[in-house]
């Protein structure tokens, strides 16, 4: 059992509990282990999830490639919902607090996490903020992950919902090229739809490719710039999270 909270996660075999499975063979022996290599991260993520759920803080992990419009979507979201819900935003980037500076002007509170050399946020980076920056009074925590379509998919943070963005300035086939991340998403937001008339980009194809990788994802096409489709996104955050 987990020493911190007695949760089931702690019942999983850990490295040191596995020794009774040793098979001796002269001086050589095989030790069977069967342990998730990311157990440590998963366990912290589990605690984060508990902490957030106990306080009714809906937590979203937003993932996408760099430049797909995560921060702009959040600027508009805070403008619209920041006075209706108490929202905290954590933003991961390797360097700079440029994104936090954009969002700090909005309703809600914002903190930048610089991962320096790391290509993703991990659960311990979020854990540090719970009980301090995230004080427990919030309704929602939005985590903007490092812009990267590969690594963030492997690391749970303790979120309730994973959201992936696909912008129209990327190929429609990005979900096929980066299936692990797009498969893991509960919601896929197609951003920058106002640019479709100027691009050789096919919305139906994008839907078709997403459904191959993730048949059950909710797909919301939006233009944060013109506001087209944003009502569906706001409704989702207000009523379905």
């Amino acid at each position: 059992m987990c020493e911190d909270c007695g949760c089931e996660e702690g019942n999983k075999k850990i490295y040191f509990d596995s020794l009774e499975n040793s098979v001796e063979n002269a001086s050589q022996k095989t030790i069977k282990i069967e342990t998730d290599i990311l157990d440590k991260n998963n366990h912290i993520a589990h605690h984060n999830s508990h902490w957030l759920q106990d306080r009714n803080i809906a937590t979203l992990n937003i993932m996408s490639s760099p430049g797909s419009g995560k921060t702009y979507l959040l600027e508009k979201t805070l403008d619209k919902l920041g006075h209706l819900k108490k929202i905290a935003v954590l933003i991961g980037d390797q360097q700079t607090d440029n994104d936090a500076k954009r969002l700090i002007l909005k309703e809600g509170k914002v903190k930048q996490i610089n991962t320096v050399s790391s290509c993703h946020l991990d659960a311990s980076m979020i854990q540090k903020e719970l009980g301090s920056f995230v004080d427990g009074s919030e309704n929602m925590l939005i985590i903007e992950n490092v812009g990267n379509l590969v690594c963030p998919a492997a690391f749970k943070l303790g979120e309730k919902i994973k959201i992936a963005l696909l912008s129209t300035t990327e190929g429609e086939d990005k979900p096929l090229k980066y299936p692990v991340l797009f498969h893991s998403a509960d919601v896929i937001i197609i951003t920058k739809t106002d640019l479709i008339p100027y691009l050789d980009w096919d919305l139906n194809k994008a839907y078709e490719y997403i459904k191959k990788i993730n048949p059950n994802a909710l797909i919301i096409p939006v233009s944060a710039k013109t506001g087209d489709g944003m009502t569906r996104w706001y409704d989702y955050l207000m009523n379905e999270v």
Partner: protein, 113 residues
């Protein structure tokens, strides 16, 4: 490209276990990497010697079992192995499937002396 840090995590865990076992040497470790784990076998194999250099595991071999995406169909109950990460039963083409394999990233066993 986080395989180097994953390899370092692996080295720490295996070293702790081997010391606990009073092992003088770890000749090999076996791990499973699922198709949906977000971990690249080639990249991990490439990074492992860098992570073990000048450590207790400097001579340890890494054996990586790749686990394919495995689905069980809720319509026809067939267990199939979809290609290209398409979430689709290969028997009846239904998308109503449960994923039963491919998410693993686990340490399976180790050979020690």
């Amino acid at each position: 490209m986080h395989e180097l840090s994953l390899a370092q995590t692996l080295v720490e865990s295996v070293t702790a276990l081997a010391k606990k076992e009073n092992a003088t040497k770890v000749s090999s470790i076996t791990i499973s990497v699922g198709a949906l784990s977000g971990v690249s076998k080639d990249s991990l194999e490439f990074c492992f010697p860098m992570a073990t250099k000048d450590t207790f595991l400097a001579s340890t071999k890494i054996i990586i079992n790749e686990i394919p995406l495995t689905t069980v169909c809720s319509e026809c109950e067939a267990t199939t192995y979809p290609n290209n990460y398409y979430i689709l039963c290969q028997n009846c083409q239904s998308t109503n499937v449960r994923i039963t394999g491919g998410k693993e990233f686990s340490l399976v066993s180790m050979e020690v002396e």
